[in-house]
């Protein structure tokens, strides 16, 4: 049988590290192949060799049975391979149509704008894409941008489509929509590789699954003949308990109460809109919302990094609005935000672990000098406690793997013994093992009566880990639900703004019954909606 893609014995080395070692992979025509593996198992590297970003050190690539050499993205496109990257490659100031036009090659690049538009719209119709060709990318939602990326590679004539973690930024409903498009593409004779580490999605969409582990090829199985447990074992190499613990803890009075908080984003638009919520000690409050619904601005506002337009923030009965980031930190409110690139905020990548430990309190010792000695001790403690894999305390953070970077960050945040821990996307891009390690760390903090705000991406995880979930849409509160009494679908609807539970049954979500607000005596309402 002739395969759309066949990879034989592909190896790629970065320094001493094998990103891929003797990997084999076959993609049949008109099939959806899931490429499964933990973080750092070499999935993206392997696919980047197909899209011409890297060249393999050894091994051969066959496209439709013919041996080829791909040394640039140009070569890759000519062979009919299109890759949709995890981080979109779009020009924000261009319209959807112009983004497609700039990449058209040869004969097509001379087409008139309206002819291209016709072609694009025909293609969109064929696969059931919902897209406005004249909309600027900067005005698009994440899911629209992704649609555009897929449409773009289709317009360039790609027959083989590679999607790198396409679902990471989508809501449940959007994922369903994406999967429908993928199935349609499959019917039209396209072959698809989808990179992911979400097992339920693998089961839902793929025909076969190829598993990589530590850069090596493990196995390929038919999706119909396998289950999530077996896939996990293939992926991790041993049995894993997929249960996320949620220890019940006696809750304390509200630690941090936020009332009517309004914050603007960098562009001056309202990002957080009259938000009410509170966190008790000993509870994890999840924040669910589509990417860019004001999560980042909320974090920055609480940490004192972003000016507050309106609203109150009361921490243990004290107003913290207008305090400097340093003062807020001293009150025991610690914020860790893992941005998309995972290094941009919170850590200085070229600096050593030791130097990163003192990032927030380097100015504490008296005199002009920094105290590196105790920093090193702290680094040692964090490395030991969170089992960070590193050659030494003096290793630059950027040389660590993703999981270890996040452990360093979280380790620093909890070493100062905060009473409110705000953590955004702490498991972003982490593999199963590291993710569970992070959940355990958070649960340990919860047991110490720390109030935790957990801003996450994966609804399944949030429902397992968090006591309550607050859903926001365009910076507005859609309601606070109890994890035991809600469904994924309900949260999904709230995320898109289709369902609003703020005033469910005459109760107002986000305002504590035993609030510390003095002016709150007459509003003796709810604990949480849905309870």
């Amino acid at each position: 049988m002739e395969y759309a893609i066949e990879l034989k014995g592909i190896s790629k080395q970065f320094g001493t590290l094998f990103a891929n070692k003797n990997v084999n992979l076959q993609l049949k025509k008109s099939e959806i192949l899931a490429l499964l593996g933990e973080n750092g198992s070499g999935k993206t590297t392997l696919m980047n060799m197909l899209s011409g970003i890297y060249m393999p050190d050894s091994g051969s690539i066959f496209i439709n049975g013919k041996k080829v050499s791909i040394s640039s993205p140009e070569d890759s496109a000519k062979l009919g391979i299109g890759m949709v990257h995890q981080h979109f490659k779009l020009i924000e100031r261009f319209s959807a149509l112009d983004n497609i036009r700039i990449g058209l090659r040869e004969d097509k690049s001379f087409l008139l704008k309206k002819d291209t538009k016709n072609e694009v719209m025909k293609m969109a119709e064929k696969f059931g894409f919902d897209i406005d060709p004249d909309k600027l990318v900067s005005n698009m939602s994440v899911s629209e941008k992704q649609t555009l990326e897929i449409l773009k590679v289709l317009c360039y004539g790609a027959k083989i489509i590679i999607l790198d973690e396409p679902t990471a930024v989508l809501t449940v409903q959007e994922i369903d929509k994406l999967f429908a498009v993928l199935r349609k593409m499959k019917e039209e004779g396209h072959s698809i590789i989808i990179i992911t580490h979400k097992l339920n999605e693998v089961m839902a969409i793929s025909d076969r699954v190829t598993v990589l582990r530590h850069g090596e090829y493990i196995n390929t199985v038919n999706t119909a003949e396998t289950d999530e447990k077996m896939l996990t074992e293939l992926m991790v190499g041993r049995k894993v308990n997929l249960f996320i613990e949620r220890p019940p803890i006696e809750k304390t009075k509200p630690l941090l109460e936020i009332r009517g908080l309004t914050v603007k984003n960098d562009e001056g638009a309202v990002a957080v809109d009259h938000l009410d919520f509170y966190i008790r000690g000993g509870e994890i409050l999840g924040v669910a919302g589509i990417a860019g619904s004001g999560q980042k601005e909320l974090c920055e506002a609480i940490a004192g990094l972003r000016p507050i337009v309106e609203g109150k923030m009361i921490h243990k009965g004290e107003n913290i609005v207008g305090l400097s980031p340093k003062k807020i930190l001293e009150k025991g409110i610690s914020m860790s935000f893992i941005p998309e690139d995972r290094l941009g905020m919170g850590l200085a990548p070229s600096l050593s672990i030791t130097d990163n430990m003192i990032l927030k309190n380097y100015s504490e010792p008296k005199g002009p000098f920094i105290d590196r000695k105790s920093a090193r001790e702290e680094a040692k403690k964090v490395i030991e406690r969170l089992k960070v894999v590193t050659p030494s305390t003096e290793t630059p953070v950027r040389k660590l793997s993703g999981g270890n970077v996040q452990k360093v960050l979280l380790g620093r945040e909890i070493k100062s013994g905060p009473n409110v821990l705000i953590t955004a996307y702490p498991v972003r891009g982490l593999d199963i093992n590291s993710s569970y390690m992070i959940y355990n760390i958070l649960n340990d903090e919860k047991k110490k009566d720390v109030g935790i705000l957990f801003i996450g991406e994966d609804i399944d995880v949030m429902m397992a880990l968090c006591d309550k979930i607050m859903v926001i849409c365009h910076g507005k509160l859609q309601g606070v639900v109890n994890s035991n009494h809600t469904t994924k679908e309900e949260i999904g609807l709230m995320m898109t703004g289709a369902l609003n539970l703020v005033d469910k049954g005459g109760k107002t979500a986000g305002i504590a019954r035993d609030s510390g607000f003095a002016d709150n005596e007459e509003t003796n309402e709810t604990e949480e909606a849905g309870l």
């Binding site: 970065f14 050894s58 050499s69």
Partner: protein, 367 residues
């Protein structure tokens, strides 16, 4: 089908880097030797004089050391200063302009403050130089922080502005222009009064200028400043990631302005010291340290001890060529620039070769 491609070497080793550097320098000296030979000059003799800065068989060898130090000190201080701002990823390429404004300010003090003791006058000159350069740098940083102007462009333009200012001062014969020599009919820069000219410690015939001692102290000070102080820590964090610095509660704008002030003020100090030790100013007083300093800082990978060593090597090259050239009429000190260019190229190539290697692609064994 492409068979070879470049890959990063698995391990970076300092030993390999130094060996590659050495090979690069030897190759460039070889190219220089061919050029010299084609001009009828014995390259060994020439290099011999160059590397020993003309001291061998010279009755006045100490004079050569003095001359060498006069080239070294401004280059060293400027490179250290530029390293400071580069570490913060602030692309200050205005070393020339900052140097010139410093020199002009020092000259203003030297010509106008008379009657004070010499040490006090010189200190005043240096303070004036540091303040003027520092404020210029501060202004650039202020615009960067406030309006996000491009510091590379702004500092670049400052170089030309200051160059034209000093050219204007040097070419305008008017009554108000105290910079000029009143005795000369042609406009030329005058010599400072005695109180504005630096002396040093006499060691036999050799005169160790105070500026040398200051420069050596600065190496240590800046090393400590960058490595062990809170300020130094802030500079590395801001340089590494602006977002992280803000998140840590650092006042990034303040740090940028402070560091840029210090960096420029140090260049001003170099200018003040240079003006005072040469006893006059001129359009060429910078000896291009604003540019060469950038090269030194990057060749040293912004490492303070390495900056000191590289400055010494470049100064030997420059001064050595100058002295060697005096013996051969067919060649002048421009050969130093040529040789410096060739060496720079080969060292950068060596750096690349030490980082990357070529690997042959193998096909799958089971083809």
């Amino acid at each position: 089908m492409k068979k070879y491609h470049l890959v990063r070497r698995p391990r970076q080793s300092l030993g390999r880097l130094l060996i590659y550097y050495l090979i690069g320098i030897v190759i460039s000296l070889g190219i220089g030797a061919i050029l010299l030979a084609s001009l009828g000059i014995n390259p060994f003799e020439y290099y011999g004089r160059m590397l020993t800065i003309g001291m061998i068989g010279n009755k006045y060898a100490y004079k050569n050391v003095e001359g060498f130090l006069k080239i070294l000190v401004p280059l060293l201080i400027t490179s250290l200063a530029l390293g400071l701002s580069f570490k913060m990823r602030f692309w200050n390429i205005g070393g020339e302009g900052e140097f010139l404004i410093g020199a002009i300010s020092a000259a203003i003090v030297a010509f106008n403050v008379t009657g004070l003791p010499r040490p006090l006058t010189i200190v005043l000159m240096c303070v004036a130089a540091m303040l003027s350069s520092g404020l210029l740098g501060l202004a650039v940083a202020f615009f960067k922080v406030k309006f996000n102007t491009n510091e590379t462009l702004v500092t670049l333009m400052i170089n030309y502005i200051m160059l034209y200012v000093i050219t204007y001062l040097g070419k305008t014969k008017e009554d108000w222009n105290f910079f000029l020599d009143p005795k000369s009919a042609r406009p030329i820069f005058g010599k400072f009064p005695e109180t504005g000219i630096m002396t040093g410690i006499k060691i036999g015939n050799f005169n160790l200028l105070w500026s040398v001692i200051i420069a050596i102290a600065l190496i240590v000070l800046i090393y400590v400043y960058l490595k062990y102080t809170k300020h130094g820590y802030e500079i590395s964090v801001v340089g590494d990631s602006n977002a992280t610095a803000k998140y840590a509660g650092m006042k990034v704008g303040k740090i940028i302005m402070r560091t840029m002030f210090i960096s420029s003020a140090l260049i001003g100090l170099a200018a003040g010291l240079t003006a005072s030790s040469s006893g006059t100013i001129s359009e060429t007083i910078t000896n291009n340290v604003g540019w060469t300093g950038i090269v030194v800082a990057w060749l040293s990978k912004l490492n303070t001890p390495a900056i000191a060593v590289t400055s010494v090597l470049i100064a030997i090259l420059q001064f050595g060529c100058k002295t060697a050239a005096t013996k051969y009429p067919s060649i002048d000190s421009n050969f130093a620039d040529l040789l410096q260019g060739i060496i720079l190229f080969s060292v950068l190539t060596a750096d690349f070769c030490a980082t990357f290697t070529i690997r042959k692609k193998e096909d799958a064994k089971n083809d």
